[in-house]
């Protein structure tokens, strides 16, 4: 297959691909994203191939590997087309049954269907499952439907038509105009208006310009970028090429963190295939516009998600940010104008070019248009990727899409924006997800991590955890971040150990303000956010730790002790057998006892007890 030389040729190719496809032919789609792969989905695919061959069905059914479907909780995920029957937690041993029942006879294997956590109600089709039904999947639409290592799958669903439209039929001004009108804002962090950024880069003076895709996704708990890069790499490439055209850049870089080997692999394959077809390289669609993109691997540093540190990293230096008094759009990579956007932002571009600015902006809120993508994780039933319109209340995301709290516990807070964000308490759960609303509440949209916390989460420990993370990741250049975070960490650690002082809370507040105002880059500037938001909404917990030496959530080891409840213990001995410090004594069928002097509070006894006989209480003495 040679290069696609013009728009008509692309349209013809798409038409041919669709004609070749039999919409009624059974198709097995198996997710091989990182999450499902970790649970053995590669074996599942192999089992399908073997079984299909064994039963002589090779020509009668397609077996397709796809990227992350987003419903990682239920992996390995298998979707049987054309009916879109959704099977979850599929293992190799299930395949013969799936093939003979569903593939051959159109019958459903009931035990593999998705069941609602609370009601037990089962859904047959993917599109009926509330997790998917209540989402508005635009950026994630083709995740799980196409094979990311086959460019023709992307073309078949309309891929590269937006690029053809832009470079052959629109001026750079028109392209920027559409992006501005759509209201697209950066989906990687601060939500800067994308069209405005493109215009500034376009207008900046420089003999050479660059576009950069930020796939660093360092926020713990966020994996939407990973999923997109694995499942639909071409959407990012197409967006970057369109952006480069509008800005006047001929070179681009995709910065991918080293911890995402599958994303790297799929992007590399996508770039090679895109070059083969002429969607990258010289004279794209005979427009005269040329663009090439290289992958730059991260070395493992969260701070490199910050644009000036990212630029330094691509240049082969230590990832130290610099003060942005002269913006990256004017002087970025090698001091040339550089436009940096998150990979989700780039992937939104082809959608907007194809469907128009109005289509994009008709959903969302006044200042935050379109959709937001969240990685919903933590104490939630349905862990996975969620895409909803901006303005959707948090409550709907947590309960309707997320299926509510794990173990039916009580929701305490939702943390958004990663280490730079804040905790939103249960009382504010009607908050609509919107850049500005989240900022007002003391958090931020950030890179889309959404962490659900329940009654057994200690908010002081959460603040301590994020400070520990940020201290480890700080580049160490400026004093307020390096020294300030270290001391805030010392103070919060002491509080969790029951060594806090009454003045600590005011000191934390004072430090937080200066660190926020004086730090050199976004890492330090947003580092105090978790402390500030937990002080704002959960001050009582801090006070309990400091004044009463008590951890209300039962988490802080120095303030708790484990005890076996006499009325519930059956003397089964399971806890005694597994206790790593031999701290439990007891005769069979008699109540067991924990020797507190040996107990290391690893929670194994509570994990393993089937009778809920192990309780965590406030430490006495």
């Amino acid at each position: 297959m040679g290069k696609i030389k013009n728009k008509q040729a692309l349209e013809a190719l798409q038409k041919t691909l669709l004609q070749q496809r039999d919409p009624n032919k059974p198709c097995v789609r198996v997710c091989v994203g990182t999450g499902c792969r970790a649970r053995g989905s590669l074996n599942v695919i192999k089992s399908f191939e073997d079984e299909v061959k064994k039963q002589g069905l090779a020509s009668k059914a397609d077996i397709k590997q796809t990227g992350c479907h987003g419903f990682c909780e239920k992996g390995p995920v298998v979707v049987m087309g054309p009916e879109e029957v959704f099977y979850s937690r599929v293992e190799s041993a299930d395949i013969p049954e799936i093939v003979s029942e569903t593939l051959l006879n159109g019958r459903v294997v009931d035990r593999l269907l998705y069941a609602e956590p609370v009601t037990g109600h089962k859904s047959v089709h993917e599109y009926d499952i509330p997790f998917y039904k209540k989402q508005t999947r635009r950026i994630l639409l083709n995740n799980g439907k196409i094979d990311p290592t086959n460019i023709l799958h992307y073309v078949a669903v309309g891929g590269y038509l937006a690029l053809a439209k832009a470079v052959t039929g629109m001026s750079s001004e028109e392209v920027i105009g559409v992006i501005e009108k759509s209201g697209l804002r950066g989906l990687g962090g601060a939500g800067f208006p994308t069209g405005r950024k493109w215009r500034s880069t376009r207008d900046a003076v420089g003999d050479m310009k660059f576009v950069v895709g930020n796939g660093d996704e360092g926020d713990p708990g966020a994996f939407s970028d990973r999923s997109l890069m694995e499942a639909n790499p071409h959407s990012i490439l197409e967006g970057m090429t369109i952006g480069a055209y509008a800005i006047g850049a001929n070179r681009g870089f995709l910065y991918v963190r080293a911890e995402y080997p599958l994303a790297l692999k799929h992007l590399q394959i996508a770039i090679e295939q895109s070059k083969e077809y002429g969607f990258l390289g010289d004279d794209i669609f005979a427009s005269g516009f040329s663009f090439n993109v290289d992958i730059a691997r991260g070395g493992g540093a969260f701070v490199c998600g910050e644009s000036s540190a990212l630029v330094a990293s691509i240049e082969g230096k230590m990832g130290e940010p610099r003060a942005k008094y002269i913006h990256t759009v004017e002087k970025g990579l090698w001091n040339k104008p550089t436009n940096l956007n998150n990979v989700k932002t780039w992937a939104s571009v082809p959608l907007i070019i194809n469907n128009g600015a109005n289509w994009y902006s008709q959903i969302g809120t006044k200042e935050s248009k379109g959709t937001a993508v969240f990685s919903l994780v933590g104490k939630i039933n349905n862990t996975g990727l969620v895409e909803v319109s901006m303005g959707t209340p948090l409550r709907r995301i947590v309960y309707d899409v997320g299926g509510g709290i794990l173990g039916n516990k009580k929701l305490k807070a939702v943390q958004t924006g990663g280490p730079s964000g804040g905790c939103i308490p249960e009382e504010l759960l009607n908050l609509p997800v919107d850049f500005d609303e989240l900022n007002k509440a003391g958090s931020m949209m950030g890179s889309g991590g959404m962490i659900v916390m329940d009654e057994n989460t200690c908010m002081v420990d959460v603040a301590r955890y994020f400070l520990d993370f940020l201290q480890y990741e700080s580049c160490g250049k400026c004093v307020p971040c390096r020294e300030g975070i270290k001391r805030m960490l010392e103070i919060t650690t002491n509080i969790t150990k029951g060594q806090g002082k009454k003045e600590d809370m005011d000191l934390l507040q004072e430090m937080a303000e200066t660190i926020r105002d004086f730090s050199l880059c976004g890492l330090g500037q947003t580092a105090p956010n978790t402390v500030l938001s937990t002080l704002r909404y959960f001050r009582k917990e801090y006070e309990a730790h400091v004044i009463e030496k008590r951890c209300p959530a039962g988490v802080c080891k120095a303030l708790i002790q484990y005890t076996i409840l006499k009325e519930k213990c059956t003397g089964c001995g399971a806890c005694k057998a597994l206790c790593p410090s031999q701290a439990i004594q007891g005769e069979p069928k008699k109540t067991h006892i924990i020797d507190l002097s040996k107990c290391v509070k690893c929670n194994t006894c509570q994990d393993v007890c089937k009778f809920e006989a192990v309780a965590v209480k406030q430490k006495v003495g």
Binding site: T34, A38, E217, P220, A296, G299, G316, K317, L578, P580
Partner: protein, 169 residues
């Protein structure tokens, strides 16, 4: 950073490093990729290799050392045969990841960031591998272990150790 007279340093293999640098077009901007390739060959970044890279790229040695010591992907001391990564990302932490780490440290008799004296295992806590649905996650080599608990650690480590040398990943 490692002492210049480290007793475990093998003989320099300049050709290998030269080829890696040349394959990356001798570009300074490829320094991170170059170091990653060297790390994947030797399981760490030997002193002599960093000196050679500095020469070939024309980058001051102190700057190469700066990059080598900045990023988590690089190690300046030999890593163990099995790299044990315990995720302490937010989701994993909230579900007990730190207890899993403590258990690993106890079983192997080594602390986070260190390698066992027989060079079999290196333990590193990491922050987010993007597999949050599997929390708490532990990865050994390329093999993922989901929903980890302290009581599963011993068995898994023994399994990995017994498979040593046969098929790693």
């Amino acid at each position: 950073m490692t002492n210049a007279q480290s007793p475990v340093e093998p003989m320099p293999e300049y050709d290998t490093v030269d080829q890696i640098v040349e394959r990356n077009n001798c570009k300074r901007s490829a320094l991170i990729s170059i170091l990653q390739e060297i790390e994947s060959v030797y399981n760490y970044l030997p002193t002599w290799a960093l000196r050679r890279v500095s020469e070939k790229l024309g980058v001051p040695l102190i700057q190469v050392c700066g990059v080598a010591s900045f990023y988590d992907a690089f190690h300046l001391t030999p890593q163990g045969e099995h790299l044990v990564r315990v995720c302490l990302g937010t989701a994993c932490y909230l579900k007990g990841g730190s207890r899993v780490l403590e258990s690993v440290e106890k079983e192997l008799g080594t602390k986070d960031g260190e390698t066992t004296s027989d060079l079999k295992f290196s333990v590193h806590s990491v922050r987010c591998l993007g597999a949050c649905a599997l929390a708490p996650v532990m990865v050994i080599g390329q093999q993922y272990f989901d929903k980890m608990m302290p009581m599963k650690v011993n068995k898994i480590l023994k399994q990995v150790q017994s498979r040593s040398g046969k098929d790693q990943e």
